[in-house]
Structure formats: structure tokens, C-alpha cells
Symmetry: D2
Subunit: 386 residues, 4 copies
């Protein structure tokens, strides 16, 4: 075959056994553009479950493992033509760090689900390892993959809004209320279990995304925060609801509110950015449009796949206008840019102008720091510097 | 004429000279149902302006005054058949207190614009006077006059939402950004001038409404608050932006965000209330609908003037479904209920079951306390009990 | 009093007894700006009901009549300072013509509800009488009173849309389905009774409005139409549903669909106009906004009471942006312009530049012709010229 | 490998050379669930373009052909383990028939883009061939693949709406206005060229979809139609705009309006169905929600991936609630059901209960008949029976 340069990148997966929802999204997103091929996996810490998943995915049983340690060892011994180009880590939070560490040390590039790790210390160690071993590391802050989030970023960057003075970010869901109720603690729900989720719940589930996308769009640095955290579930040691005030270094003010227990909210991530000349707002549940309001002009509704969009936004769509694109396509944009960057690196080439537009370990680190400061602010009931 | 009992109530106005926007709304709202008649006024502290306004309104010049003191004195001497049933006070904030006091002492009933006064001390004094002189006192928290705000209140009250656990209230506008810019202080804008607005700006303009409507709908008591206040206008001593965290006595959490400087926001008052069974949301800019979301049911959109509404909400509409009603009608609901209560009082009768549904001095007092605590919280950077 | 020139215009009402909904709207709309005063009426063909309504409205019993004939006679004999400036006719359709005729002949100006009359012949006769007696005659096509309908008209007029090529007009409701069901005929519902409604039902109720507002906004002339009419109610001789294809003289195409029996539709009047450069759409249920979509530009949402609006639209609002105005205010705009034109005529002055912007007998005539042609097209199952 | 039964189905493609938009969607949709694998193709009638596309897709050059005839011949000689399970036809309209015929005769199952063919005669011939050769034949009326379109269908079926009395279907776009303007004919645009599109343009592009989805959701049969067709482009022999009145056999009325030249419309397919008890409406541009309005109940907004949905709708989503799914996923639902049915047929098994839910040759035939009748109605300016 003469299409060598375009052959799909090979990857392996850690986590993502039968029934896992986020792993299935990773697989669909990675496959959407035909750029990657899943060839190995340690899908579960229970070997028989991992094997079962391998069969469901028609993988070679020889490359389906009972532990990430075994996988890292065996895969690192593969010959070049079989070697994994990268590893996707989609386990519960607490395993992100050890799994990532194991593969980075052996020189594998990484795509890691969020939150990246469970403490600022782990984040710092990983950051050093990534640098030392010169690997690529993406964190799947998938919401920044939406074309209209990119349009928003570009509008702020080119000054359409003037100086940003206020940021309002919400990310609310009903998944704890719906799945476990708030009368008693469902102990099987790992997101409420500190030994699996880390010392935070909604801050990691939703707050990390909120911090990331607001940084992505506004480009602002946070100076200090004040956090009010609440656990509504009896016996739950982790916060289900978080309301956070923010001061930005440029003088802007911000509020972020997060919740797992709001009836009627279905993955409601939205952001509004206000500047001295204009404001913008974007809702993940209606992702193909972006509202921009300039002083004394009619409100403007940008829609995906139109000629008036910024090149970065335009590059990030696959269908014509009026043909809605959604969650999987946005997720796939992370994989597509990561894959293009990786391909370029392998070939000692320069990637396309937009391919660096994916979240890296620096983004993962930033979120962990934000979470750590929020926990500290709540404990001390005071403003805490970032 | 044999329609005596239904004859319009006579009222006078303090403030509301040529060009004043809120006074014109008061006059239209008071007149909408044919229940009141404006017969006197001290429309401006400049006698010639007051007289001009009297002419525009075709009033008897003998009852148009150059000061509220003169008006109070002369009107208190009128014979019974000419005596004012009530006085509407629509001046800038700092005059509410002295004008109200003057008329209450002489036994007049009062409709007062918001914020009621400029300090908690004034609020306390007024509360005592109202009781002592046994007058009716309404504060025009007009947003509670909307039928769908009433529907929301009734749904919370009957338990549709379960136990309330979170409240999100926003009231944002662009009127300072638009009218004065934020590069320098417009000294003619009384809302930014402490000698006229009192020691607060956005808290009085918008925060008082937000506090009132959230109390009205949720029925919850606030326990403590934490406020972050910002002045974005150089030289402006008053806050233009406020972000407030709230703890309710029942354990619920709340956030309130207020601003005068958000590009694109046109009087954006909205409230969301979340309970253990359902949530609701209402937007003043789309006032005829109310969204209710129950766990695992389709979202329900209530619309004004339909048979399925609660009686209080139904009572508060004037047109059939599909015939939008808006700001003036909501405002008129305050006047209509106040007038009906006043008529009943005059006749020693019992008012209708829904006529007590208007904001009173207790609501005005509650808002002033909230504002005073917010200022204190900001100064001390700490949670303050209500 | 020295406000003579501004004294409210005096008017009388024909129709509008207790419980009538449209008459109450006329009264509120006429009163909103303090420009008119109701002083006489023949509110019902039953004298005791008329008298009862007079008492409810606190009118002088001497000017409350048991028939419009008596009213016309007696009121025409009033001295100048008591003489009615105009008469509002708000009866069921079949009385519009005889009542209007009676008053026009005696020189009274008229505000008439729609549809103006019940046949093209009556419309022609009235048109001649109005001219002969030189009276003002308004038809309350109130939807053209909305500021955003006016903005739409102005945008078409100034060429923002390019050449108009398609018009889509819908006006649908559920009032027959809801009020009478469609299983059997409710004989008390005058809108389904040919002796009261005329030989049409939905065409008169809704089609006349739809024809009027589409003419108003587009300025186009209809060349020919093809109509499909359906009666869904057994025993009902009048159409409840109408679907009409239209050819305009400039080559544009149009569709109009009307119904009284659509579950869930609450007075859903909406219009979309498409040109070679841009399109616009307006929904009566969300009346404060107007969407404009230009080729290869973001959609633009115009909102009432903003500085960027055309002067005619701006003139037609009463409150600032973000303070919703709705049905009554739009209706009042018809009365306000009619009153200003009438005042100017009385004083031999020129009315303001926007005061001629109200529907006249020509509009009433145009609708009647449209309805007559629609009935003919349906009977002949063919295209019929207008 | 032991996953034999789940191995991807092998397919080939006719049409879909470099730059083709719909072919890329077919490939992504077919691949989304890992159920199919593209292994052969005649991507263009120009052999070098076909070969180029084969290389871009990393296909074995031996299975990339310069014509569909060659492909049909060679592929029919493949051994069983290499034999194509089906062929996807994604050429311009005029080639659908000859290509489909060639492959059906050789026993291949078919997925065909829409409109299925270019005349009623071709449709009839194909229907006979499919039966004779016992192959599966899907037509990609992809909009019926949306979960909320399926929910709508199920609600009508279970009687939630009562008896259907009115159907309103719109499908409008701006692609001719935008791409070619309407001042002169762009001869390179095959959709306006009768030799490639067939004797219709907007009827085939959009009308076929509109006919299909309205049949799908309502389950009603059309009795007769009246069509008004317009070509707005000088020199264009095919219609760009169509307005069609419909009578259904059960007495219901319908209107369908289609256009290629409406500024601002981006693939705006929407449908509303009204019954005696309730109505529903669905918009393709906001595909994850479905509005249902019952008489005297609040409007209900169904949202994808919630527990209250009908099983068929639930089966057709892949992500949790709040995670939007869109065009590609809906398209993939057609492929997924077709593939499952094909797999079952190969294995002499019964497919899953929802797998027959994809459009077949009967749907393709129905649309062609509708288009043929619309053309006839327009030519004769009369109602034509279906």
C-alpha cells in the first residue's frame, strides 16, 4: 500500500471496560476521522473483564492485559512496526497518575482523561516527567473542542470584546441527585468516594472543565479565589456543590458555580464573558451557536460552518452549516489535533497551524492548582491566591 | 352616579417631573385598571418644573406644589371628599425617607419606589411610623407582580420542588456602561452619587429587587452572606458589580450576581430555584413563561393565562393566553392589590383573597438589611449573619 | 385649566358589554397614554346589560344607551363641548357595518374592530361613505402596532432585504378546539355562526390580520391566490382551517396558513419575509425581538427600545430596553396615532411624522377583498386574481 | 480471533470522490459504531480520481475501480471471505438507478442516497428487482434516524395526539442563493441541471426528505396534493421553491414548503403534527429536543437520553443526557439498523426489535411518486391524487 504516511496511529487504552461511558466516547472520538486504530488495552483491573472487552473490540488477545503495569511492560517491548503511538487513560481519577507515570517513563505519548490527577503534587511530578521523557501529553478537556468555543476564544483574542471585566461560568448537572438521591450515600458511586475520586468531587468532575474552558476562552489569569463548598449527601465527605468568586489579574471579576445535585440540569456547561465593548455567551447544550452582543448593536448569533467564522473555528467543523455537530465531534477535535501533532513529531515535520490547539499537561496542572486553592479557601474561609 | 364604591382612588405624587421614566410607569400602572386617579403632585424640587409637569398632566394647578413639605401640609388640610387616598413617592433614593415620613405622620397611605430608603436606621424608623400611624405602605418591587413569578411562588409553596437546596439569582444591566462608559465618572448620573443614591449603587438599584423576588418565590430566610463588590468606574465610590454567596437557614445555598456594566444585558433579572424533586426558572425578559423541570420528566413550560395555573397567577393576568402581558401589567398588579386593600380598609371590609399579595414595608426593610450586611461583608471580607 | 389642547379626546363605544374581552382591551389601550376618555356607550343590544356596563365604568347613565341607533341619534345632538370625538365599534362582525354606517353618516370618526365588515359590498359602501363624510376611520389591526413589526416594515422599505421573493405567514390558535371541541358544534359561539360572523370564520378572525400585517411589512401587492379551506367541526358551515398559496405582483411567492383548531397554539401569529439579500422573522408571542439574517453574516437580533432601531420603531415604544412591552402597548399605538391624527385634524394642524401609521379603511377594504377571493378560489378550486 | 460474529461488515462505495460532502458523511456514519469497513470503491467516473480517493482511504488499489460496471463485475467474482456485504451509492441522482440495478442483479445489498432515482418508472423497476433478487435496500433518509423524530413517531402511534388533523412540514435552505446567486444560472451546479438531478431540483433535494419524515412520524397516507413550483434563477429549468397543499386520507390537511433560495435558512427541516388532543414539533437544527403540547397542560419538552423516552428513541442514542448528539449519529442509526438487519439475514437470525427501523425501497418509491404527482399538479394547476 502506498498510503503509508496516512496510516492510522496505533493506540492502547487503560480503563474502559464493558459499560464504561467515557471510554466509549474516547474510542468513537479517536476513530471518527480514521486517524487512529485501537490495538491494545488493559481495560479493567479484573483480567477477565479486560479480556471480555478485548473480545468485544475484536482485539488480538495477546495485546489485552490484566493490568496497566503488564501492558506497559509488554508493549514497551514491541517492535517498531507494532509499537503503540500513544496510550489513552480513561480510568477513575486515582489511577490516572500511576498509569500515566508508568507509560511516560517508558516513552509513550499520553491522552489522559480529566481531572488529570488527584493532587497538586502528582500534577507537579507528572509535569516534570513529561518534560524529561519528551512525550506528548493531552488532557481531554473536550469542551474546548467545540467550534464555537474556539470562535469565542478568537473573538476575545482579536479584541472584539474590549477589555474583559467579568466572567460567569456555570457547570451544573443532576447526576448525583438522579443516580443516588441525596438522602443517603451510594457507596458504589466512585465519584463520591475519596479513595477513587481524590479529595474532591464536583470540583474534579465539573470544576476542572469550567476552569479550563474559561482560561481557554478568556486568556486571563486568575489572581485569587473564594470558595463555598457544600456536601448535600449525608455521609458524603466530598463536595457536591461549589460556588466560587474569582479575581483576575487584569482586574476582572468572575463567578463559577458547579453542582451535581440540580434537578433538571443536564450537563449544563455555559460561559459568559463581558468586556468593555461587547460580551459573548456559549451553552454546551446548544453548541452550534455563539451569541455576541456589542454595545448599541443588535445581538449577533454566530453559527457553525459559516464563512464569517474565524479560521480556527472553521477548521474545527466537518459538516456544512445547518448540519449539527455535537459532543463526539468536539471530542474528536482533541484527538485529531493530538494525532496531527504526534504524526508531525514522528516525521520531524511541523504540524498544521491549528494542530497545537489541544489541552496539554499545563492545562491539567492549572486545573489541579485551582482545585487545591478552592479546597484551601473553603477550609480557611478566606480569599486564596492562585 | 351610582358607582360610588368603585370610584377611582385619588392619589398624589412626589417626584416624577418631566422626562422621568419610572414615574411615568407608576402613572400608567396606577391607571391601567381605572382604579386610581392622579390629582396632586410635587413633581420636582424646582417649582417651575413641578408646575410644568402639572400642566402636562392636566392637573388643577392649586394642587401642584413646589415641595413635598408644602404638599403634605396643604393636602392634609383638604376636605374628606378631596383628600388623597395615597401618595406615590418616586424621587431619587435619598428623598424617599423624608418624604415618606412627612406623609405618614399626617396619616397618608404610601406607595414608595425602591430601594425604600438609604440606610437600615431609616428603614427601622419608617417601620415604626407605619405601625404607629396605621397606614398602608407598599414598596414597588414590581417584578413580583408578574403572573409567572406568582406561579413560581405557589409551586414552591405547595411542595412541587421538594426541599429547596439552591437558589441562583441574577440581575444585570448595561446602563452604567452604556450611559456613562467606564472610563470616567459621569457626575450627573445620580445613581453613582452617594449623596443621592445612598452608600450603595447596584445593591440598591438591582440587589434590592433580587433579594425581594428571591424571598418572595422561595419563602426562605437567608442566614449569612459573603459579598464581593467592585467599582469599575474610576472615581466612583459606589459599587457597580456585586457577587454574593448566600447560606439559607434551611441549609440551602445561593448565589446572587448583580451588575450595571455588562455589555448586552438589558435589565436581565432571572431566578432559578432548585429543590430535591424539581427546579424552576424564570426570566424577566421572557416573562410570560415559567420552566419547571422535574426529575425524569420532560421539562414543563407554563404559560400565562392558561387554565392549569394556580389561582394567584391566574388572578394576575388580564388577557387571554397568547396575548403577551409585560412590565406595565406586572407593575399595575402592585397598584391593583394595594388599591383593593386600601378600598377594603376604607370600607371596613375584607379585601379579596389575593389582594394582600403586594410588597410592604417589611419587604423594604428586609432589602435594606440585606444591603447593609453585604456592605459589611465586603468591608470585613467575611461571612456576615443576616 | 390651561392644558386645553391636551385634554383627552372623548369617545363612545358600541358593543363591549360585561365579560367582553376585546372591548376591555380597547378601553385599556385607549386609556394608556391618557389621550382619550370614554364618556358614552351602547354596550349591548340588551338595554339592561348596557346599563350595567355603564355603571361598572362609572359613566353618566344619560349617555348609556340600549342601541347604537339611539346612541347615534342622541349623541349627534350633543353640544360641541360634550360631542364625542370618535366612536369605537367592538361588536361581533355582523354589526360593524350598520353601526359604522349610522355614525359615519352623522359625522363621527370611527375606530372599528376587525374584520371591518362581512362582505366586499359592505366594504365598498363604507369606503364611499367615509370619503363623502370626511371622517377618520381606523381598523384595529393591532399587530402592526408592535414596534418590531414597524422595524420590519422599515427594513424592507430601506432595502435591507433586497428584492422580496418569499413570504410565509402563519396565524394559528386553538380557541375552537379548546372552547368547543371539534366533535360537535357549539351553537353559542358566534365566531362559528354565519349570521354573526359573516360567511367566513378563521379567514375573518385570523386571515384578516395575516393579510394586513404581511401587506404592512412587505409593501407587496398580491396578484392571485389559491385557497384550501376546511371545516373540522361537524355541522359547522364555516372554515376552521385555511391554507393559502399566494403569487405577488413582483414575482414573489407566499404561503399563509390559518387555523382555529391547533392544539398548543396560543395566538401564534408570525411572519417571515425573504429577500435576495436577507430575511427577517417576527413572532407575536415574543414580540420584543426581530431576527434579521443576512447572507454570510451572523444572525442579528434586534430588540425593542435600542438606539439602533429605525425612528418609527423607536417612536412606538414607551419603556427602556429590557422592560418588555406587549399586546396592550401595541394596541395603544393604534389609538395613539389615531388620536394624534384626529387632534391635528380638529386643530387644522399637521400631525407628527409617524402619526399616520395606523390602519385605515383602505386596509379594512383590502382584507375583505382577500377573504372574498379566498372563498371564491376554494369554491372553484382554482387560482383567483386579487 | 474469536470475535468472528461481530467482525465489521465489508462494503464498497460508488461515487464519493475527493471533496464530496455526502460521501464523507456516509463513511463516518458507517464507521461510527465499528460495524462496517470500507474495502472497495468506484469513487469517480474519472479513473484517476477514483484511484486518488482509494489512496486517501488506504484501500487496496486492486479494489479501486474506474467505473461502477467494472466494480460490480470484479467484486461479484470475489471469494466469500472477501465478498462485499453491501454497496453504498452516493453519486449524483441520475446514476443511482443504473448503479443500483447493476449491483442488485449481481445479488449485492444496497444503501442508496436520496432521492432514490429520477423517475417513477425507475422506482418501479428497482422495486421489482429488489424483490426478485431478495436483497436489502436502504435509502438514507437520515433525518428519521434522529432519536427525537423516533420519539415523535412513537407518540403519534400510541395516540398521545389523538386523531391527527394537520401537518406542517418545512424544509428550506439557502444553498442556491448562496452558492450561485439567483441572477444567473451556475451551470456547474449539478443540482440545477436536469441531466444530472432529474426533472426536479428542490423536490428531490428537500421534498423527498420532507415527504419521508412526515410519513414516518404521522403514519398517514396522502390522498391528493396541489403544488405551486417556482424557478427563481433565470435560465434554470428546475424548480427552486415549492409550496404544496396536501389532503390526507383520514381527512387531515397538510402544507409542505420547500426552498433552495431563502436567505438565512441553514438546512431548516422542521415538522409539526397537530391532533385532536395534542401537537408536537421538531426542528432538525435543534435536534435533541421535541416539544409536545397537550390541551390545557404546560408545554412539555422531551430531551434525548432520558428515562421517560419511548424504547425506540432511547435505543437510538449513544451518549447520556446533556451530551448532544447530532447529524452524524442520526445518519449512523440508518447504517446501524441496516447492518444489524443484514447480519441477522446472513446468519438466518432474527434482528433486534428496533433494527427494522430504517428507510427501505418502499420509502424511496413513495417519495418518487410524491414528486411525480407534484410536477403533474403544477403542470395542470389542479389537485392530483397520489
Amino acid at each position: 500500500m502506498d498510503c503509508q504516511g496516512k496510516k492510522p496511529l496505533k493506540y492502547g487504552m487503560v480503563g474502559g471496560g464493558p459499560g464504561g461511558f467515557i471510554a466509549d466516547i474516547h474510542r468513537k472520538a479517536a476513530a471518527l476521522d480514521g486517524e487512529t486504530e485501537l490495538v491494545a488495552g488493559a481495560f479493567s483491573s479484573k483480567p477477565e473483564k479486560s479480556a471480555e472487552m478485548g473480545r468485544l473490540l475484536c482485539l488480538d488477545p495477546a495485546r489485552v492485559y490484566g493490568s496497566y503495569e503488564e501492558m506497559a511492560q509488554k508493549e514497551s517491548e514491541m517492535p517498531d512496526d507494532k509499537r503503540l503511538d500513544f496510550v489513552s487513560i480513561v480510568t477513575p481519577n486515582y489511577l490516572h497518575f500511576p498509569a500515566a507515570k508508568e507509560f511516560i517513563i517508558k516513552g509513550f505519548n499520553i491522552v489522559c482523561d480529566k481531572p488529570m490527577v488527584t493532587s497538586i503534587e502528582e500534577a507537579e511530578e507528572l509535569r516534570i516527567l513529561v518534560k524529561k521523557h519528551n512525550v506528548l501529553f493531552a488532557v481531554t478537556y473536550n469542551y474546548t473542542g467545540y467550534p464555537m468555543a474556539k470562535q469565542a476564544k478568537e473573538l476575545v483574542k482579536k479584541g472584539t470584546l474590549g477589555k474583559v471585566i467579568k466572567v460567569i461560568i456555570e457547570y451544573s448537572g443532576n447526576y448525583v441527585l438522579e443516580r443516588t438521591g441525596i438522602d443517603s450515600l451510594n457507596k458504589d458511586f466512585w465519584r463520591l468516594d475519596p479513595s477513587k475520586a481524590g479529595p474532591f468531587s464536583v470540583l474534579g468532575d465539573l470544576g476542572s472543565h469550567a476552569e479550563n474552558i474559561s482560561n481557554y476562552i478568556t486568556g486571563l489569569e486568575i489572581e485569587s479565589i473564594f470558595a463555598d463548598l457544600t456536601s448535600f449527601v449525608p455521609g458524603c465527605k466530598l463536595e457536591n456543590d461549589a460556588n466560587i468568586l474569582m479575581h483576575y489579574k487584569n482586574g476582572a471579576r468572575g463567578i463559577m458555580f458547579l453542582s451535581q445535585v440540580l434537578a433538571g440540569e443536564e450537563n449544563n456547561l455555559n460561559i459568559r464573558v463581558y468586556g468593555t465593548k461587547a460580551s459573548l455567551s456559549w451553552y454546551q447544550n446548544n453548541p452550534t451557536v455563539l451569541s455576541v452582543r456589542l454595545l448599541d448593536k443588535p445581538e449577533q448569533i454566530y453559527k457553525k460552518s459559516n464563512g464569517y467564522l474565524e479560521p480556527l473555528a472553521d477548521y474545527s467543523t466537518r459538516l456544512p452549516s445547518g448540519h449539527p455537530e455535537a459532543f463526539i465531534e468536539a471530542f474528536a477535535n482533541i484527538y485529531r489535533n493530538f494525532a496531527a501533532t504526534l504524526r508531525a513529531k514522528k516525521n520531524n515535520e511541523k504540524a498544521g497551524p491549528f494542530n497545537s490547539d489541544y489541552p496539554t499537561i499545563e492545562d491539567g496542572y492549572s486545573s489541579m492548582r485551582f482545585i487545591e486553592r478552592a479546597l484551601k479557601s473553603y477550609k480557611t474561609s478566606s480569599w486564596v491566591d492562585i
